[in-house]
Symmetry: C3
Subunit: 344 residues, 3 copies
């Protein structure tokens, strides 16, 4: 008998091309804005003003939370993101509905797990898309004795290695100025290759990581249950992302906010009690033209735990020569696009 | 001299028929909705949409908090509830004012305490009732040497053993569908006698139980003071009620929300660090008619601490044969009415 | 090379007469009201009703938070406040912008630090002032070997020892009554010299003090970083101020809210785990006239940690004879004006 309780999908349950309608549509409100500031300390000016625009990462966590029950309740690992683009602003009062389409399936050779590739699309109450991204997760099989067709014939989608800067839309409202932010540096001042030390540290506490995760109705039990986790509930990976981004304001004061994610890795787990630090590296720049009030900057955000990197310029992200293995204190390696006010 | 500080009422201070105007009227806002989600993880769709309807339990905690100063500041125990009915929806922006009428008094034979029965009524800014319930609490006497008339002639009100289903109003707005909730089961699928395992666990943390209680301006010191409580402030009994109800979504996905409480017992105390689990039993069903978009389901919600019930069907709620003594890990036994979307 | 990271100003960076435009203007919203109640338990009726008026202390913390980056990021100590006046109400939806003018400079004789006096002014989106205060902080020098002109010729501004009651504006909206608050005492009942025991205790927890501080985007690292502080992040001094004021409701039930601060001292640090208690002393009264619906009361709020003062009337605020040294358990000594409903 099928139980009334939803126990999530296993690898065999995913059908190529199937589109999940993700529960529960949710209306964003002013309280979500206040809570996001209270939980992260984020100061990006565009999300503090009277227009009540929703922070892009708040929207992302909400949408990801909506997909958890169907996509990742039985996930063993969150493997990656690609092609994440915020398509238009959301404001308090908008209602967000989300779908997740299965675009790829690959059974792993151990026959215990498989990889599910989904394309997530979130739209507002007018049916307009606000956020789109690809994500792939490792999911448990229901039965490891029966192999699926995706063991020998995996379907792996072509995913963009990055969002091309031409796909970004220049921000027109809520653009900061030196006078407003106290930050001296504008788009023109940032150089490809430079690193920015974000200086401050933030300790993650028990209650706030759970409150943050619940705000987005993400009920994955591993984040909430002391008994199940021997007293160490895993912090939802999106929380260090938001905290690292908030820390990143110091050094990027005239930014208008994250507008795309090219790639991201939750490299190591975070638990309550860990203290997070961050630095950024400028990877690429895109000038939107002489009249544009912002320019795009591609950044690599590195968040470390329990280790402040004092000299960011000489820090080895991959400490072992010749190996692409992240430093063990790195918890997040995020490749994203932001925009920074120009001198225009 | 009467001190300026309000030290609450003792048994002798309650007069039969007296109606307390409870402080402080409070306007509910969008932030309360966001905080309630963040503190409980509740996903009931009707309280996540653009109508900004207030969760019935949020309203209940607010109203109960308003009565604390006059009714239960000197309470030794919260003995029970009866006949609790939400009479109409409340939305963000509504201002809630509450009265409490003394409807019964009984001095206990030890002459140290008495039982006070009150009928609480909450109304909105239009003077329309939104919530009504009976509650009885054990209150300390001011002077145990002087007996009151209620020792020998107690006045015990007749209280309804349950809300009759005819008193419930079928929900018309915010009704979920399988497509919205991802839940396969509708009203017709639930059988009287069946039990539903809600699977997930939630650990209660120090800060969040205090924040929850303060949100409702319930200032009973036992919940907040480490010194007074030897480092173990008691969790407000309404928090496990809300957490258990939130856990209950998994298995009751197409519910429209709690609409009446027949009886409730806070069977054991909860402290920070306890992990809560829940299951439900279907006690009764009421069909509102062929055209109704919901049907009423009477449920018994059992919340346990630090013990997940693996096999809910065979679990003994009263483990000792012939005795109506709840299992020691049960913290809440709640008999309530909900409504679930029909196939109509 | 100047780094992109803002490392705050040192004593030498402050120029007499310079006016800082403080980052970031912020729009207050309904969520801030809900969070303030949830974090403090404050019950002052004027800030709980449908007008969505912002609690004066919430506004103060927001404004102070806006000044941190430029004024006090390198502060060694927060020395005092003077002449703090709330000039008009703020409501949800108002956008607050703040400036800080350097009005005094004094290099200390050790040549390691100096004192910076600033006048802070906050205005709403209509350019109208909502809050004004003077504050002085001890700030590190960048170079202790080079003395400044302010070592020998300090400029010390004249600061008001108190806000004269004539400067206060009688509150006209949101005035409580005995019926609303359950409090029996009105303006006429309070006597100069009397002390009021606020009875209840509140334990400060790790997460909530950080959430509170972040809500106001106050990023001073000493409040957030376990590693930097050997596991004891300092609680932002504004939190015990708000908690003490919230505790003070019990005994001042018919108040309309703090309207000016004459002086304040954060006498001892507070850390997570400390339990706070409070009492008040009536210092002065001002009758606004026979028709006025409120009268002004000048109060001294004493907040203690880990020690409940049982007999407030005989408690020695300065236990050593002849010395103006506060009792070591006092964390806050606040001299402020409130208003209390009259019998008019």
């Amino acid at each position: 008998m099928k139980t009334k309780t939803d126990s999530g999908n296993f690898f065999e349950d995913f059908k190529l091309g199937h589109v999940f309608q993700c529960p529960i549509p949710r209306t964003l409100n002013q309280g979500d804005i206040s809570n996001y500031i209270s939980m992260t300390g984020d100061r990006t000016p565009r999300f503090c003003d009277a227009r009540m625009e929703i922070h892009p990462l708040l929207l992302f966590h909400l949408v990801l939370g909506q997909t958890v029950r169907q996509i990742s309740l039985n996930a063993k690992a969150n493997l990656g993101y690609a092609g994440l683009l915020w398509q238009r602003p959301a404001v308090a009062g908008d209602t967000i509905s989300t779908t997740a389409e299965v675009i790829g399936l690959k059974e792993n050779s151990n026959q215990k797990t498989g990889i599910v590739y989904v394309k997530t699309r979130a739209q507002n109450q007018q049916g307009k898309e606000v956020l789109q991204y690809n994500r792939w997760v490792m999911v448990n099989k229901r039965d490891e004795k029966i192999k699926t067709e995706y063991l020998e014939k995996p379907v792996i989608p072509e995913l963009p290695s990055k969002i091309e800067p031409e796909m970004l839309w220049p921000v027109k409202e809520g653009i900061p100025t030196k006078g407003i932010t106290g930050g001296d540096f504008i788009f023109e001042d940032y150089k490809v290759g430079e690193r920015i030390d974000h200086v401050d540290g933030l300790t993650v506490n028990t209650t706030e990581h759970m409150s943050f995760t619940r705000l987005f109705q993400n009920g994955a039990k591993i984040h909430f249950d002391n008994l199940l986790t021997d007293g160490k509930p895993l912090v939802y990976g999106g929380y260090p992302m938001s905290l690292g981004y908030a820390l990143g304001f110091n050094g990027l004061q005239n930014r208008t906010g994250i507008c795309a994610i090219n790639a991201g890795a939750h490299a190591n787990p975070v638990y309550a009690g860990d203290t997070l630090y961050a630095f950024s590296e400028v990877l690429e720049k895109k000038n939107f033209g002489a009249d544009a009030r912002t320019g795009a900057v591609r950044l690599r955000l590195i968040v470390t735990k329990n280790m402040r990197v004092e000299k960011v310029d000489s820090f080895q992200i991959y400490p072992e020569a010749g190996k692409k293995v992240l430093h063990p204190n790195i918890v997040l390696d995020l490749d994203y696009w932001d925009q920074i006010a120009t001198g225009a």
